[in-house]
């Protein structure tokens, strides 16, 4: 008390600010992390960009002709005239082209059933079976999408067709193999946005507390008047900015390379992205408060990352998963974020359409943050 009077204005905010500024400087100075931040999303996107053939041509196709008719020949002729399909084989049985699809010799099998021509002329609207190897979903999707038009054009010149202009006189029955969810590039970009953010955000914060422990700086930090909430917020906030930059890079590339639309509000998309980034950062931070060292923290992140890939609806359609898997999926912020982003980007959904999902992410964030704050070890015991 004989000390000079303190000019203190100790506020929760100044402590948060101390932590924030410190973390930001450290982040800026850590070149490797900084590079990872920018390079990882770009690399992922480019890899996908090259791997996914967005403009597929010359896809090997087999035809199974169960009858010989003018309509059948016209269809084959039309297919040959497009650059999409290369008719490489003619099958004589279903089993044959099933085998080729399995072995990857062909990507498409088109079956013109017996009595197809007659049924078309009678107006029976017969089925034309198309089996597609959808493991390359974009290729399959684009080609399948074009099939209807190609065949329609082929039939136009033929006589004796029922005159119901507009509707096709037959139905194309699609059988997608190996990727029933029919994930397309449109689905992949929102999915990538979510998974890349999950991975990078997790790794950044899952190291933040263990790093202080391992470097010995925790001892000083804990001896100072700062509480776990301020530490957490100060450590998370700089990475929200990082997550935002990453999201912007991915979206920009998605829009320019993959021509993914953003039908809904960009502001809403930014808002939910920030919320989701915060949620994921909190999860990583929570691991960091539980782990004893950086290796453990990374392992926890990886263990968390796996169900995110499998159960969030990124890889398999959510509705098709067993009940227990759906329950786990509901607990993952990515699940809700994916729905939100797909909604906004592809369907032009508005905030009111997405209230439930947004609330889910917000509630998960609060729950996870509370766990982190209570789990944070305030002593060195």
């Amino acid at each position: 008390m004989m000390n000079a009077p303190l000019r203190r204005r100790a506020s929760a905010f100044s402590r948060f600010a101390a932590m924030f500024v410190k973390e930001f400087i450290q982040l800026k100075r850590d070149r490797v992390t900084f590079a990872t931040m920018i390079i990882v999303p770009l690399m992922q996107l480019l890899l996908f960009g090259f791997a996914i053939n967005t403009n597929p041509r010359h896809l090997p196709t087999a035809i199974l002709l169960q009858e010989d008719s003018d309509i059948g020949r016209a269809i084959i002729g039309a297919l040959k005239n497009t650059s999409y399909f290369d008719i490489t084989r003619i099958a004589s049985t279903r089993a044959e082209f099933d085998g080729w699809i399995k072995s990857g010799d062909i990507l498409f099998g088109i079956e013109i059933p017996a009595n197809f021509a007659r049924a078309v002329r009678r107006g029976d609207n017969p089925s034309l079976l198309v089996v597609a190897d959808a493991s390359d979903p974009v290729a399959a999707g684009t080609a399948l999408g074009s099939l209807d038009g190609i065949i329609g054009t082929a039939l136009r010149g033929l006589h004796g067709l029922p005159d119901n202009s507009g509707a096709q006189p037959f139905t194309i029955v699609q059988q997608r193999r190996y990727n029933p969810a029919a994930v397309t590039s449109l689905n992949i970009v929102p999915g990538l946005l979510g998974t890349i953010l999950t991975m990078t955000m997790l790794i950044f914060t899952s190291l933040s507390v263990t790093r202080e422990l391992e470097r010995g700086t925790m001892e000083s930090l804990l001896s100072m008047p700062i509480d776990p909430l301020q530490i957490m917020l100060g450590k998370i906030t700089p990475y929200i900015v990082v997550g935002f930059v990453q999201a912007a890079i991915i979206l920009l590339a998605g829009v320019t390379i993959f021509a993914v639309p953003i039908d809904g509000s960009l502001a809403l998309l930014i808002g939910v992205t920030i919320l989701f980034v915060t949620a994921t950062l909190s999860v990583g931070y929570t691991f960091s408060t539980i782990a004893r060292n950086q290796l453990q923290a990374i392992q926890m992140s990886m263990m968390f990352f796996l169900p995110n890939i499998l159960l969030s609806g990124f890889m398999f359609p959510f509705a098709g998963m067993p009940g227990w898997a759906q329950v786990i999926g509901q607990m993952l912020p990515l699940t809700h974020y994916l729905r939100t982003v797909r909604g906004i980007m592809l369907k032009g959904a508005s905030a009111s359409d997405l209230t439930t999902e947004i609330i889910w992410v917000a509630v998960l964030t609060v729950v996870v943050m509370s766990i982190a704050v209570t789990r944070f070890r305030r002593t060195l015991d």
Binding site: M1, M2, N3, A4, L6, R7, R8, R9, A10, S11, S14, R15, A17, A18, M19, V21, K22, I25, Q26, R29, D30, R215, G216, T217, M218, E219, S220, L222, S223, M224, P225, I226, D227, R378, T379, L380, D381
Partner: protein, 316 residues
Amino acid sequence: MESQNDREIAIRVEGLTKSFGDKVVVRNLSMTVKRGQIYGFLGPNGSGKTTTIRMLCGLLTPDSGQGTCLGYDILTEADRIKERVGYMTQRFSLYQDLSIRENLEFVARIYGLENPTQAARDAIERLGLKGRENQLASDLSGGWKQRLSLGACILPSPDLLLLDEPTAGVDPKARRDFWNEIHALAAEGLTVLVSTHYMDEAERCHEIAYLAYGELLTHGTVAEVIGRSGLETWTVTGPEPHDLALELESTPGVDMVAPFGTSLHVSGRDHPALDQALKGFKARKDLTWERSEPSLEDVFIDLMQRSRDNFVEAKP
């Protein structure tokens, strides 16, 4: 009465005990440190100095015992204690990847100083670090790191400094400057608890406490500690001091022989027994004997030996 006591006492703890696993690291430790005092904490490696200091500022929870630090309960009011205490850790624990200025600004913000930038600038000037404020802490030499740590501790003007071996590995000149600074701070009313292995530093403390094997063996002013030791000490000079030391050590009645430059300090607790033991040696013409005061080091080595004997005996 109570409140007046509180004002004069910076630290008062009773019966502090701490174990890690089944190893008792601090045992039933009680101590009182008055305000404005420089209190030295001595003891061999692993004696529990760091552990005790950590319990005082709420970094470790004692298994049992209680006490106050600056009038706040160490068990329940750690948050209040942290506001008023500067803790300098044994190992450098500021941010290596932050510059001197950034580290100080960080501390200033945490303690809510009004103008962190200005506070850091003032501290840099006071510490004589001007011109290198943008150097990363990791690039500093050991001595400068210690200065930075001390600077960070006193930046928020605490009432109590807990310094854990602040001068380990620091050159003599820097050590002297450091101690002058600590004395200046104490003169302003700051209380300082400082652990050290250096005897000359112990002698610069107002009071000292000596720990071994987690037990506080003695405390008081240097004179009190020496007086209370009950040691009688003789200084002997002669040829072949090494052989002489071995010879003396094996003589019953001699409790301790310590080399001191070219001479030896020979001490014993039982004065008649020591006289008896030394009789033969004193008759030797080649040796010069002189009665002397035991040094602090003699006292500590003796305390440590005795406590080790007890410690070993106590074990089954």
